[in-house]
Amino acid sequence: MSLSEEVELLRKVPIFSNVELAKLKLLAFTSERVRFDPGQEVFHQGDPGDAAFVIIEGTAEVVAETDNGPIVLLEMQPHAFVGEIAILCDVPRTASVIAKTELHTLRIEKELFFRLVEEFPQMSAEIMRVLAERLDRTTSELTAARNRLREAGIE
């Protein structure tokens, strides 16, 4: 896949959708294409976060390592942006991401990402929107989970 195809792909990722073409090209050029075999870890929960990934092709699972064993939280499809929390908040990886099929990604280094965000305010607005959506979804899932717990009489 050539650089121009990658640029097309990046445009389909929500947080990059409003970034001008020239900058996306720079982003694509300065990022690394990484391929994972099925079952290979993209990153591991608890590791320091050094990069985020855009999924180009294939699917990946987000897995939380708990005391009771791993729990699959959700499945990521092409155009998804993963691993951004650890680099945004400077915290260790909150979950592991594992390639479910053969997985092609674009790896964006932390510093690179921050520079882009600094230079293109429209990107930060987009990130905020995406994160807010995710928070909204997580909150409703949490509420639902609590309700289920209450119904089960645990809490």
């Binding site: 650089l3 121009s4 720079l26 990484v34 391929r35 400077d90 510093e111």
Partner: protein, 909 residues
């Protein structure tokens, strides 16, 4: 050091000076005879004046000297009777013989003088460096390395030339001048007196006029030395200059200094040539007197004409020696000044006495640990850095030293290794006062690693073993011829008063660290490197290192075997896609276009990146393979993309360094270039400069990484064709400029890793490098090649001051060096300060765990780490404010608890 240069020279070269003098005196009679022979040849056989009485004359008849004073001449040897022609030949050959003898004398004298000068120079230089090695540590704070180097190298150089002439010249030339003067005096007292007066005036006035010149020379010397010092500073501080954008300030400073040097020099020239003029004038003034006054005497009949001619003939022998003596005197003053200045710099107070650095032989282990009693240390202004420090550390004990920054803890380490001498109190090691111990003993007992570890620009291995080279131990094995040469070298060393330690001897003290030899030492080194967390780094350095089949044929064969086995292994493990192998018939997308074309490694500058594109043979190859236009087009496409991508970024943006083919500085250039041409560009349509630029870009292009899609199957095929053409017709002159890739042969210009893989690790495969290296390590382990890789890593040259290594690596290496020595006391002075906390702690624990019966004193940057030690000493305001077990002190809630519990705010990064 002897302050009087003459005394110094005389003391060290008395015998040689006398020998030269004797030879010079012995040569004089021959010289005079050779002067008188031409007249004898002309008068005797040629004009025939000797042969008016008969057909033959005795040759070489010898009379007893002065015998005619007693009436009768006594003939000792009646000589050979020779005819006129025979006499001519005999005298001519005598002349030739004398010329040869005189030449021989000159040759001998010059050689002896030169040798004497060189020996003295060698002595002076050695003595200076010897003194540098014994300077008190505080003195180094005032010294500039470049200035010291310039003094040792350049400023004493004229001494060598002068030393040979120091005594011989005035005696010899003075003798000649005096003889000539006496000769003139004998002819006519008045003329002699005039000549004498002029000479005296000359001898008086010239030095007077030259004195200011000497003063100027001295100024020039100082200015030049400071200039050298400034250039040294510039090199050391170049980062600061760039960061602060002060390069123009530095330019102004250098320019100013050069201006000053120029004006001093100019003034010297003006004066020097005036003196020369005056000197010449005085030289010709005397003949004027001879002609005018002498002529007058002849006219009035007081002097006969023969005498006048003799005087005028003898006179030229007078000014030349006088001038030489004046020059000699000037040189004397000059070198005396230089010598004085150098001695001033090299004669500080409180030098380490020479005896303290003498070899001490085998040193038994320290018994009884270290006891500090009321130690006080002052700096050169008299401020107290440490006051009344007392503590005891027994062998096997560990002591942490903590305290607030600038509270005095930073001075403990240097004091313990005598870099700061205590001004009061005692430091006692094994019952002996530290100040009385020879360096050889302290150097073995105490290992020290501070924050600023200095590494020498040699290999890692040599840096590690540096702490084991105290004195020569076993003389080298050698053939009788080598021994002869060595004996001569040693004798010469002795004559020049240099150190007679044999550099080729075995210096590494294996015994003191309990290993039998080099192999065990390597094992120990790796062990120590593991303790400081450097083992993996050295392994990687080894993989990145180079060996040559010429020097390591067997090893290269083994690596070649490993290459084949690895090729199979990686397939078997299903990881073959992680490495793209080099294949003579295939384009390698993970290698650059340049590497694909060359299919080898440039060796030396001829085909290096800058030179390759403009090399006629390379260009010719591109044309033959019909890829020249395509290359230029690719370069143009890359340039267009780079300009498009990077044009909007500020010039200091890190992307330029990391990703761009074009530096920020050159970008406007390329912008112009892109605009000048259009995409249907060809080899012929661009000018030479632009073509070189475009080709350079194209050669750097890596298809897999840069993903511009430039390498179409057609292009790839053409590149392979070009590669083969290049290889087939490679001219002899370029055979050594490149090491071509060959699946069957080890490539000396490629790293060990490249040789093992014979390919490039594929771009874009997750953790490809880690996985490949892991597999490789597994294989090398099986083949027992790990040690060879470590060896190559240990051979890595760390560069000046270790600058080729990252600062944390340098610090760890310093620590490793101190530990490798197996000292009885290990003093670690905040030596891990630049490492992150987890790494620090890992190393700390590993070092403490392996310390055994050793005393460890560790000055800690992080007080909370003191819990790992037996005891802790808290230093503040230069005093011990608390002492005890860390746990107890924490409970007591005193100064230590305050330090340890104070959590610095987590920095953002």
């Amino acid at each position: 050091m002897e302050r009087n240069l003459f005394k110094y020279i005389w003391r060290h070269s008395k015998r040689e000076q006398i020998v030269v003098l004797v030879i010079v005196l012995a040569s004089l009679p021959f010289y005079f005879v050779s002067l008188s022979l031409p007249a004898a040849i002309v008068n005797g056989p040629i004009e025939g004046t000797w042969f008016q009485e008969g057909v033959s004359r005795p040759f070489l008849e010898i009379y007893l000297p002065f015998s005619e004073w007693f009436g009768e001449r006594i003939r000792l040897f009646e000589g050979f009777q020779l005819t006129r022609v025979e006499m001519l030949l005999a005298l001519s050959f005598s002349y030739l013989g004398l010329v040869f003898i005189n030449g021989q004398f000159k040759f001998q004298v010059n050689t002896l003088k030169g040798r004497m000068g060189e020996r003295m120079l060698r002595r002076v230089r050695f003595e200076l460096v010897d003194r540098v090695l014994r300077f008190p540590p505080s003195y180094f704070r005032k010294l500039k390395p470049a200035e010291v180097a310039s003094m040792v190298k350049d400023e004493v150089e004229p001494l060598g030339g002068f030393i040979g002439d120091a005594f011989v010249l005035p005696m010899f030339q003075g003798g000649i001048a005096l003889t000539a003067l006496v000769f003139i005096m004998v002819q006519n007292v008045w003329l002699g007196a005039v000549a004498g007066a002029v000479v005296l005036f000359q001898a008086f006035i010239i030095p007077v006029l030259r004195r200011p010149i000497l003063k100027l020379s001295k100024e020039r010397q100082i200015a030049a030395r400071e200039m050298a010092g400034r250039v040294g500073e510039l090199v050391d501080g170049v980062d600061e200059v760039r960061i602060n954008a002060t390069s123009n300030y530095e330019r102004a400073d250098i320019s100013n200094r050069l201006g000053r040097l120029f004006s001093i020099r100019y003034e010297i020239f003006r004066r020097k040539f005036f003196v020369k003029f005056l000197n010449n004038f005085l030289g010709k003034f005397t003949p004027f007197i001879f002609y005018a006054a002498g002529g007058y005497f002849v006219i009035i009949g007081q002097l006969d004409i023969g005498q006048l001619i003799a005087v005028i003939a003898a006179y030229p022998d007078l000014p030349a020696p006088v001038k030489m003596m004046i020059d000699w005197d000037q040189q004397r003053l000059d070198v005396q000044i230089k010598y004085d200045q150098v001695v001033d710099h090299f004669d500080p107070d409180d030098m380490v006495p020479a005896e303290a650095q003498q070899p001490v032989g085998e040193v038994s282990h320290l018994q009884g640990g270290i006891v500090a009693t009321n130690v006080t240390v002052m700096d050169d202004t008299g401020a107290r850095l440490l006051q009344n420090i007392s503590f005891t550390v027994g062998l096997g004990e560990t002591l942490a030293i903590v305290g607030p920054a600038a509270g005095g803890k930073e001075h403990i380490g240097p004091t313990l290794v005598r870099l700061f001498p205590p001004s009061a109190g005692h430091l006692v090691l094994g019952g002996r006062d530290l100040s009385s111990l020879p360096e050889g003993v302290i150097g073995r007992w105490v290992g020290y690693s501070g924050q600023d570890t200095y590494l020498f620009p040699v290999s890692l291995r040599e840096n590690l073993t540096y702490g084991l080279k105290h004195e020569p131990l076993t003389p080298p094995d050698e053939s009788p011829r080598d021994q002869e040469r060595r004996a001569w070298t040693a004798a010469e060393t002795r004559r020049a008063g240099n150190a007679e330690y044999d550099l080729d001897a075995e210096w590494i003290d294996y015994h003191s660290i309990g290993v039998a030899g080099a192999a065990e030492l390597r094992k120990r080194m790796l062990d120590v490197l593991r303790h400081v967390g450097l083992q993996d780094d050295v392994y990687e350095m080894g993989l990145a290192g180079y060996i040559s089949p010429d020097t390591h044929p067997e090893l290269c064969t083994k690596f070649m075997y490993a290459r084949r086995v690895f090729g199979d292994l990686i397939k078997k493990r299903g990881l073959a896609h992680l490495v793209e192998s080099f294949h003579p018939d295939k384009y390698n997308r993970n290698a650059s276009l340049g590497e694909n074309l060359l299919f080898g490694r440039p060796c030396g500058p001829f085909l290096g990146e800058g030179a390759l594109v403009s090399h006629p043979y390379f260009q010719e190859t591109l044309h033959k393979a019909q890829i020249a236009d395509a290359m230029v087009t690719m370069g143009y496409e890359i340039a267009t993309t780079m300009v498009e991508l990077f044009a909007g970024l500020p010039a200091d943006h890190p992307f330029f360094d990391q990703f761009s083919f074009i530096s920020a500085l050159d970008l406007p250039d390329y912008k112009g270039l892109v605009n000048r041409y259009s995409s249907n560009i060809s080899w012929e349509s661009v000018d030479d400069d632009d073509r070189v630029k475009l080709l350079t870009l194209a050669l750097r292009y890596e298809d897999a990484r840069h993903r511009l899609g430039l390498i179409t199957p057609d292009i790839a095929a053409q590149v392979v064709l070009a590669r083969k053409t290049f290889r087939r017709n490679l001219p002899d002159a370029l055979q050594d400029a490149v090491r071509l890739y060959d699946p069957e042969n080890y490539n000396a210009a490629s790293s060990i890793l490249d040789n093992l893989l014979f390919g490039r690790i594929a771009y874009g495969e997750a953790k490809a490098r880690d996985r490949v290296l892991e597999l490789l390590s597994e294989l090398l382990g099986e083949l027992e090649l790990h040690e060879a890789v470590y060896d190559a890593g240990l051979d890595f040259n760390v560069g000046p001051g270790g600058k080729r290594l990252a600062t944390p690596t340098r610090q760890r290496l310093g620590l490793a060096r101190a530990i490798l020595k197996r000292p009885d006391i290990l003093v670690i002075d905040a030596a891990l300060a630049v490492l992150d906390t987890p790494t620090q702690e890992k190393i700390l624990q590993s070092v403490l765990a392996s310390s055994g019966s050793r005393a460890v004193i560790w000055v800690l940057g992080r007080p909370e780490q003191a819990v790992l030690f037996d005891r802790v000493l808290v230093i503040d305001g230069g005093r011990v404010v608390e002492e005890g077990k860390a746990q107890d002190l924490l409970a007591r809630n005193g100064p230590y608890a305050a330090l340890a519990n104070h959590k610095p705010r987590q920095a953002a990064e």
